[in-house]
């Protein structure tokens, strides 16, 4: 579904952030992208979404991402931003949810059906006509996920989905992520959440892959994690 082939990228000349990165995420797979600050996690997301481009190839569904097919291929991807306020830019939750589908030519009727289906599934019907600036942080995060689900993307990318959430809302978000049928790529420092939601983990360090394998295996490897400025998930360190 998502493939990176020898991708390199730098914001400044001679200071590469991503170095010759290659990996493949199969359809339906749930992958956690972890690493210390500055490891290049967010940049990898941006490269996959076509928000920046470097050397090498980014393939979505076997098709190389380019300016010509950017609009179409982005329709297959959904991105949940770390800051939900930046994602929820319309006045109400409903309007935010219809924004994506309508832009992709889905009819109003079908869009409304999708909106109701997603809100029912997430138990958020009562948020439908609420103003985005009047809902809580947890509700906003759930609504942000709902806006992406309404687009019915094939793959969902999430940047720190559990950040700034209280334990209850964090658990809610984790449960929702676990039940998503789509391909998922999640970046987070919350390794317990990664352990709960991902079957595979890619550990980045200095723009390179330091480890790639089953989540259980990598997240239990104290020596590996500590060598890359990380710690065992709390649930495994007791």
């Amino acid at each position: 579904m998502i493939e990176l082939k020898n991708v390199s990228f730098s914001y400044e000349k001679d200071r590469p952030v991503i170095r010759d990165l290659s990996f493949r995420i199969a359809e339906g797979e749930s992958v956690g992208l972890i690493g210390a600050n500055g490891a290049g996690k967010s940049t990898v997301m941006k490269l996959i979404l076509g928000l920046c481009s470097g050397e090498g190839q980014v393939l979505i569904d076997g098709e190389q991402l380019s300016k010509a097919n950017l609009y179409r291929l982005r329709g297959k991807l959904g991105f949940v931003l770390q800051n939900s306020d930046n994602q929820m830019f319309m006045p109400t939750v409903y309007e935010d949810m219809i924004f994506g589908p309508l832009n992709y030519g889905v009819t109003r009727e079908e869009t409304d059906r999708r909106v109701d289906a997603v809100l029912d599934r997430l138990g958020l019907q009562e948020l439908k006509h609420r103003h985005n600036h009047r809902i809580s942080g947890g509700e906003k995060r759930m609504a942000a996920i709902a806006t992406i689900l309404a687009m019915e993307p094939q793959a969902i990318l999430m940047d720190e989905p559990s950040s700034a959430l209280d334990p209850y809302n964090r658990r809610l978000v984790i449960n929702v992520i676990r039940e998503l049928p789509q391909t998922r790529l999640i970046t987070s420092h919350d390794l317990d959440m990664i352990l709960d939601t991902c079957s595979r983990v890619i550990l980045l360090d200095g723009g390179r892959i330091a480890a790639d394998g089953p989540a259980e295996e990598i997240l239990r490897d104290r020596a590996l994690l500590e060598a890359h400025r990380m710690e065992l998930p709390l649930s495994l360190s007791r």
Binding site: G75, G78, F89, P91
Partner: protein, 267 residues
């Protein structure tokens, strides 16, 4: 509650007002928008010396306040910052136009004073009408109505995003102010030496946010076309309301109701 939080609270109060239920709230946004535009146009069209003819134009906002159940004091409280600016318009007229125009109880009133009062009243009436529109119509419906009137999409999008993000930026400002005061106890306000960096920081934060927001829009297929809420179509009741309003405004514009009323008592 600090000043910023208070400002934020006041902002969200407008949504509560717009979400109320009343005969005015129930009208289609287009009808309210058209009648408000017509009202402002008629108010502005009065000549600077037509103070008495302008006074009956108060009738419409007073009726709307009654029908919508929105307290007049809320309007004046919310407009307390803008009102003095409006009142300042024409403040110098009495100095330039000193020719006596009428006499009140033996005191000569110059044309400058009359024009100043007219300008002030025009400003207050226009503000009241705009407030009533905002207080009875949710912003998304208002934007949808503006687009139907073919107001350029860019302007409407700007209005929509400004309304959405003014609160978010106020929150950022509140956080920055709080951080400042925690390290500058006993200081009133923000010292002038910190103003530059304060505004710079706010600008940088706004730019970061704007970039993320634009990315978020692009990732959901945005290509210079915004989709707005579906507003309910205008019914015959809405059409009757709009026509009645416009007829009333024209009547009040063409017939000097104040002079007619006054003529009943004074020869």
């Amino acid at each position: 509650m600090n000043k910023m939080e208070k400002a934020l609270y006041e902002l969200t109060e407008m949504d509560d007002l717009a979400a109320r239920s009343s005969p005015i709230h129930g009208l289609c946004p287009m009808a309210k928008l058209l009648s408000t535009i017509a009202y402002i146009a008629v108010v502005v069209s009065f000549h600077k010396y037509e103070l008495s003819a302008l006074v009956p134009m108060l009738l419409w906002p007073v009726l709307l306040f009654q029908l919508s159940g929105i307290p007049v004091r809320t309007c004046f409280y919310k407009l307390r910052i803008v009102l003095p600016l409006v009142m300042a318009v024409g403040l110098f007229n009495p100095f330039f136009d000193r020719a006596p125009m009428l006499a009140l109880g033996g005191v000569a009133v110059s044309g400058g004073v009359v024009s100043m009062l007219t300008l002030m009243l025009k400003g207050v009436l226009c503000l009241m009408a705009s407030f009533l529109l905002m207080a009875t119509t949710p912003i998304d419906h208002l934007c949808a109505a503006l687009r139907r009137l073919h107001v350029p999409g860019m302007l409407v999008t700007l209005l929509l995003l400004t309304y959405r993000y003014v609160g978010v930026m106020t929150e950022e400002l509140a956080v920055m102010t709080e951080a400042y005061h925690l390290r500058a106890p006993g200081q009133k306000g923000i010292h002038v030496s910190a103003w530059g960096s304060f505004l710079g920081q706010l600008l940088l934060r706004s730019m970061d946010r704007a970039e993320e927001l634009y990315n978020s829009m692009q990732l959901r297929g945005y290509h210079e076309h915004f989709h707005y809420a579906d507003i309910k179509p205008c019914t015959p009741r809405d059409a009757v309301y709009t026509l009645c309003c416009i007829a009333l405004f024209l009547l009040l514009r063409l017939v000097d109701a104040a002079s007619l009323l006054g003529g009943l008592f004074v020869r």
